[in-house]
């Protein structure tokens, strides 16, 4: 731990495509650059385990995954300092960074510039029974595949909507794993609405790849279309999944050992919001998204957000957004090189964001899967149900922060990551106002739990000690 300095020119948080690209460019410009990564090896979630894959057969994870290899190689060669298993639990507007390494020691340091590249997380999928063991996110299954080669066995059902669901199905099939069914919750009205953006999607780099993948999965797996309700059932763990679809009025049950859920990804906002960076509700992506300059600059000077944390646009775009933020940072020392990098990144971004609006519209999760009802758990940590939230709004509770005092929702260890959007949307619907007006949980450091021992061991001056010690 002693090799972490007190000051850096640039601190990057997160080692996905955006973080690695930003750190590489800054380090190549000879700025002192550190990258803090919560994982044990670089790659983020999309390129998880890219430097130590258990697979020698590259066709299993596919070329889009292996596109991360040169990015990681350039990062390793760039001279940027890489700190794995590093959880950033605090960031101030003055760019003081609080980091905990492997849960064994906290440290504070100062950075002239900060790039938040904390990416995305899977949108909450609050269905009845989603807390049962055996129910996981599709991303979780993909993480086990990428990092350990571990695949689901027994009866496996995928449910939901969005590109990742289909990609995971394709990858699992390549390993030889079997999938009993895919319950496709993509809504008819979303598909209809997406047609307005079809023209730009036809020109996007995603079209051909996507169609080929969908065709292969549909050929080999039973796909149930127009699913309007999904429920996980079982005692102690999931045993059956019940669904309702357009072609059957009665619920249908399937035996299941693994139920893998997914309905898109949303920006991971916790760290950025805790600094006080301005966010706005995005009605297309149905999430809070930071307000950014074209270079990823935020409302807090010196702090940038690069990659999917600034709005979902995918891995390729994330890398270029990392370059853009870094070009703004290195501009003061290498104006010519910075301009060239920015121009290349802007051109590439145009290409990789083309067709995005179609994808957002097409895979827009249906309202009943975002705004659950009755006894369905919304806050997994504190076990708060949808009915409790709706009833509390009826009592006059206007927003998520007041809701905490009534129900403790959002106050468990995940700090709202798995319930925040659901709570905001439920309140907005009940009050008949926009999610923007309802707002989000007020987030504060530590944005990830650290031990009291770690906090207490931080260096402190005499005045701070006097303030709390009674003499």
């Amino acid at each position: 731990m002693s090799d972490i300095r007190d000051e850096y020119d640039v601190a990057v948080i997160g080692a996905g495509p955006a973080g690695m690209a930003a750190a590489s460019l800054c380090a190549r410009a000879r700025m002192s650059t550190v990258l803090f990564d919560e994982q044990p090896a670089p790659g983020g979630q999309i390129y998880r385990g890219i430097t130590r894959s258990p697979f020698s057969d590259r066709s299993i994870l596919g070329p889009d995954y292996w596109a991360g290899e040169p990015v990681a190689r350039e990062f390793a060669a760039s001279g940027a300092q890489y700190v794995p298993r590093a959880t950033v639990w605090s960031l101030t507007p003055e760019r003081e960074v609080g980091v905990s390494i492997a849960g064994e020691g906290a440290q504070l340091l100062q950075a002239k510039h900060v790039v938040i590249a904390t990416g995305a997380l899977e949108r909450p999928f609050p269905i009845p029974g989603w807390t049962l063991p055996g129910v996981m996110t599709a991303g979780a299954a993909q993480t086990m595949l990428k990092s350990s080669g571990i695949v689901p066995s027994g009866h496996t059902v995928l449910a939901g909507t969005g590109p990742l669901l289909w990609l995971l199905a394709w990858q699992l099939l390549r390993t030889g794993a079997s999938i009993d069914a895919i319950l496709d919750t993509t809504a008819r009205e979303s598909r209809a609405r997406a047609n307005a953006h079809l023209a730009s999607f036809v020109l996007s780099p995603y079209l051909m790849k996507g169609l080929k993948l969908l065709r292969e999965v549909r050929r080999r797996v039973r796909v149930i279309n127009d699913v309007t309700a999904v429920e996980a059932q079982g005692e102690g763990r999931v045993q059956t999944v019940a669904y309702v679809c357009a072609s059957s009025a009665m619920p249908v049950q399937l035996p299941v050992d693994n139920l893998l859920l997914h309905q898109g990804v949303v920006p991971n906002v916790n760290l950025a919001m805790s600094v006080g960076i301005e966010h706005r509700w995005d009605g297309e992506q149905l999430a809070f998204v930071p307000v950014l300059t074209p270079f990823g600059g935020t409302s807090v000077p010196g702090i940038y957000i690069a990659g999917d944390g600034g709005g979902i646009a995918g891995a390729q775009a994330a890398g270029w957004r990392g370059i853009l933020s870094a070009s703004d940072i290195v501009h003061a020392v290498h104006p010519q090189a910075a301009k060239r990098a920015a121009a290349t990144a802007q051109a590439a971004l145009k290409r990789f964001t083309r067709g995005r609006r179609f994808l957002d519209a097409y895979y827009r999760p249906a309202a009943q899967f975002r705004q659950p009802a009755g006894d369905t758990i919304v806050c997994r940590c504190e076990e708060v149900t949808a009915r409790q939230i709706v009833d509390t709004v009826a009592l006059g509770c206007p927003g998520p922060n007041q809701m905490k005092s009534f129900l403790r929702c959002g106050m468990g260890p995940c700090q709202g990551r798995l319930c925040g959007l659901t709570v905001t949307e439920l309140i907005a619907r009940q009050r008949n106002v926009s999610p923007q007006e309802v707002g989000y949980y007020r987030l504060r450091p530590p944005v990830k739990p650290i031990t009291i021992a770690e906090l207490a061991a931080l260096p402190k001056d005499e005045a701070a000690v006097k303030a709390v010690v009674r003499i």
Binding site: P40, T137, S148, G236, R237, N258, E383, C414, R417, P449
Partner: protein
């Protein structure tokens, strides 16, 4: 239920979960190793005592909390396995002094 790939060149190692031996591979997270061994649920909730197992595998859901070498509230999906590690399931709330 999960299974490991037929071929895996990574070194194997062993740790214990609630006293029972679990086989793992170098580079596994504790959560992945537990799932591969069928050793879940890994905790019960402080509110109702309901069983939980890893859900997100990326450090955001906190449903994989376990006790690692005597230290509670560790996110099993973020802790790499080490040979000889002692992992215990986390039951409900922790009591003072426990």
């Amino acid at each position: 239920m999960f299974k490991r790939p037929r071929e895996d060149a990574r070194a194997s190692l062993r740790f214990t979960f609630d006293g029972a031996a679990v086989e793992a591979r170098e580079g596994d997270s504790v959560a992945a190793a537990l799932l591969a061994a069928g050793a879940t649920p890994c905790r019960t909730t402080p509110v109702s005592g309901a069983p939980r197992a890893p859900y997100c595998m990326m450090g955001v859901c906190f449903d994989c909390l376990v006790v690692v070498d005597g230290v509670g509230n560790r996110q099993a999906c973020l802790v790499p396995v080490r040979d000889g590690m002692a992992v215990e399931s986390q039951r409900g709330k922790r009591e003072l002094g426990a």
